[in-house]
Subunit: 142 residues, 2 copies
Amino acid sequence: MKTATVKTYSITEVSKMYHLPTTTLRYYEDLGLLYDIPRIKGRRAYTQAHLNRLGAICCFKDTGMTLKELQELFDAQDDDADLDKTCAILDNHYKRVLEQLALLKKNERHIKRKVRFYHDIRSAKENHSKLPDWDDYRDREF
Amino acid sequence: MKTATVKTYSITEVSKMYHLPTTTLRYYEDLGLLYDIPRIKGRRAYTQAHLNRLGAICCFKDTGMTLKELQELFDAQDDDADLDKTCAILDNHYKRVLEQLALLKKNERHIKRKVRFYHDIRSAKENHSKLPDWDDYRDREF
DNA sequence: ATTTTACTTCGAGTATACTTGAAGTAAAAT
DNA sequence: ATTTTACTTCAAGTATACTCGAAGTAAAAT
């Protein structure tokens, strides 16, 4: 009879995989975002399920969800899932992500113009030529 | 002889225009991000130049620049502009914005899949049909 | 005339998300 | 055998960006 051993990861391995300090991983566990992490000789042994959840944490956190909202989402998902609440939270967050995306695209274009503008000022100064005018950059697409 | 009067804006008007509380506008002034704001009978009177700067503050702040970094950028831009430093800060920030944009797009797709997945679970429960499997959503484009 | 509204300054307090420090353990390296 | 490394827990401290409270002023509304 074979006993399937589940692959686990140490806190340092997980830290490297997700670019999060070990202290942050412990902090998430304190908050309850990660739980039931088994200990092997006192050390945390993360399973694939924990990595999946951590991936979700990073995704939602990076899109501006607070850790408290994340906890609410997980609470809705986890024990005997409240699907209406889960869907509501997800729908609402997705809307916010689309707004962020629109804003970020707009800001990206603005910053690109600023970058060009200052590079052109520098060139003009070097060449002793006419300095550019911001009005020529404000609504221009590069 | 005509005296051209420059249009100014009260702190409440600016607050509404930029969706920032008045306390935050005062805070930015305390930090030095906004300065030389004239007072008319003790009240702040923002000029177009201040609005432009405030637009820049919002744009850079919303793309993840800290207020301290913003101060450095403005210091480089303002008094007898250090063009090399300005360009360096802008170039560096623009790179970060492109990274953010790539990450946000990736996260947006992931969240879209999650939204679909949970809506499909809900439908399946209502119809007493087979529950969907996340593996069918993981790498699917919607 | 006096109350209300809309500001003013300055200092202190708060929320979020970590981050550090102290004291301990246990296995691996020297 | 003992030092080093890599964790452990728990409590306290920090950074950033606000946010609030108190006390005051000055013009507009009643």
